[in-house]
Point group: C2
Chain length 442, copies 2
Amino acid sequence: MSAASTARRRRGADELDVVAFERGSITSYAACGLPYYIGDEVESAESLIARSPEQHRANGIDVRLRHEVLGIDPGAGRIRVRDLDAGREHDEPYDRLLIATGAAPLRPQLPGIDLAGVFGLHTIPDALALRARLDGAESPARLRAVVVGGGYIGIEMVEALLARGCTVTLIHRGEQPMPTLDADMGERVAAALRALGVELRSDTDATGFVAGPDGRVAAVATESSEVPADVVVLGLGIRPRSELARDAGIAIGAGSGGITTDSSMATSAEGIWAAGDCVETHHRITGRPVFVALGTHANKQGRVAGINLSGGSARFPGVVGTAITKVASTEIARTGLDEREAATAGFAAVAATIEGSTRAGYYPAAAPIAIKVVAERGTGQLLGAQIVGGPGSGKRIDAVAVALWNDMTVDDFAQLDLAYAPPFSPVWDPLLIAARRVADLV
Amino acid sequence: MSAASTARRRRGADELDVVAFERGSITSYAACGLPYYIGDEVESAESLIARSPEQHRANGIDVRLRHEVLGIDPGAGRIRVRDLDAGREHDEPYDRLLIATGAAPLRPQLPGIDLAGVFGLHTIPDALALRARLDGAESPARLRAVVVGGGYIGIEMVEALLARGCTVTLIHRGEQPMPTLDADMGERVAAALRALGVELRSDTDATGFVAGPDGRVAAVATESSEVPADVVVLGLGIRPRSELARDAGIAIGAGSGGITTDSSMATSAEGIWAAGDCVETHHRITGRPVFVALGTHANKQGRVAGINLSGGSARFPGVVGTAITKVASTEIARTGLDEREAATAGFAAVAATIEGSTRAGYYPAAAPIAIKVVAERGTGQLLGAQIVGGPGSGKRIDAVAVALWNDMTVDDFAQLDLAYAPPFSPVWDPLLIAARRVADLV
């Protein structure tokens, strides 16, 4: 809808018809906000809808809800559409097409995965169902919740369920939660979770879901035991929804499964663009394609596609792998490559971790912050950073993201003119200290 | 002391004697923390001392307190020192010398400026005196405080005096407080101050101080009126203390009055370095020297000087003019050039201001943030940014500071991979929106 809105703003109704087909009934919702609705930090699901179908229509976009696109014929310039309510199909011609099919949550075919009480969290209906379960419980504070998956959604769901008073167990596959951090930084996240009373089951796969006498889920099965559960939330990751493009003969990234585009967001098929969680993206540090599903990229890509398909010229220059989340007062952020990714990408990497303070040590509410910086041995090129710390820690990653964008060395980074005043930073910002530490090892 | 400590760490006692002369009795104190001690956010003045003389001595630095350096003889390689307590003078030879004489608060010779109740705030003794006045008052909450000067110290003292319950009037020279912001952004600071109950006297100079019957200050005189005052705090800016260097024939910047150094922090005199608030600094955007007294620069320069004077090699690459402060929950930050500075430096500038949100709009405690971005017309080169907003606003300036360091354009900036999650940012970080807005005007 970002592309549609951009195109609509650029060209009048006499020049361009903009038609949007949506299988569901909701447009432009903030999927990233769903955990906060579950946690009752956001009062209504409606507030997560940035623009309703009616608002889009008022802006001159012909939104057709409950219309599923079944196929694309790039040669003929038409799509096959099914009106789900009327039960009818028809062909719709296009001059220019955008594919924005998003991503699908991974939902392995484990025994019992469809039991009542096992929830995903990808759409507003998903969230309403989980809210109904929590709100409908006699005492939500007594519910035993099990979250399966220790990535962003998993961590955010742990926070939400804790906020609702549930007892929470986190089952995750790796040595530490947050697999997009190195294990030593993930261990800090694990410590924060444990301090919040979360039971962690690391190096553990869910192997199935066990029903209770009422037919609802009663436990999560693992290889070694059963974990009692009144509510299960799955956060097992997502995959690009690229089948429609693949079936139309459009190039798909072999590794990522996302639709391949150039920097204008054009696909391999003439007149067809793609944007959002269904595409693979250029990683500026590795130079390789990567699948990163994140609302901010989707919005930027949508804008770029909307400009290009309405006759303008814009490009999406790629990502450096920045991400952020939090659990209670612990902020977690990363950008660039972690040590494992750096090795995979062929960099000889060197890393250092420092522990510092978010503010001047004497200033109230100065919180601990740990920063790990990764650099290339020899050249000192900054490769990435990871942050785990108290309030004021996370958004510090942006300075590193900008530095990565500009191929800075850690030695140069350590000299940066970052903002200093006691309520905001020690006299040496911990980022500078971390960069200096690595620079001394390079 | 940063230089002394760096040199000490790099070279053993068999290689290097490190002697430090200090006119006062305190070393390594955080001047930037003084307002927070006044405001009772920092409990003791001692906690502002990063390293005591004893600690420096334990680290192998020969600290001589109450020793004033009266003159430098670069040709002979010696300084003239006065032991203030013994009342004796002697010559001290050196092989390498660092001048770190800091800055002096501006204290115009206005009638009554030496009255009891008129305070500066530059040293720990200054702070102790002001604290004593506030703590000694029968009811500090009833005191009428007048702050003269609307810069960083002035604003921070307003916050501190409000925290102590005083009634606060701010007398400042410009149209708006915070002269390092453009007036339209300063107006936002003024609005925040007014909302806190501060009375603002803009476009106003203090012309003198009026004594009451008890001989203490009772009012601040201005051209048009007298403002009743139980306590007056001066925040009129500072100037580099460069007399010692000047008298020794060392080059001083004509405009700034600060000691001229190269990027190694070497002065014009062989074997003499200078660092901290007494020097002028290279501004990376204008390419011109500038006087910026800030603890973070002083520390970095001290480190660089300490490396170089102990036989190593390091350089201080200059500043981009980043600064930050806050008053109550309003955060204020700037970097690079504002519109006026851009014009002075000869840039044809274009600017835009946006109002956004620190977090996703639906997330609790999302706060307003205003961002002004300045760019060069035609090229789109980023020249600077100013931020005024709620919690989570100020440190965003760091991303701009890194971008300035790397000569980014606003068009490139608007594409950056900044961290997004609802508790930290809207899906388009307000910085990106502001950069995009300017890019569209360039």
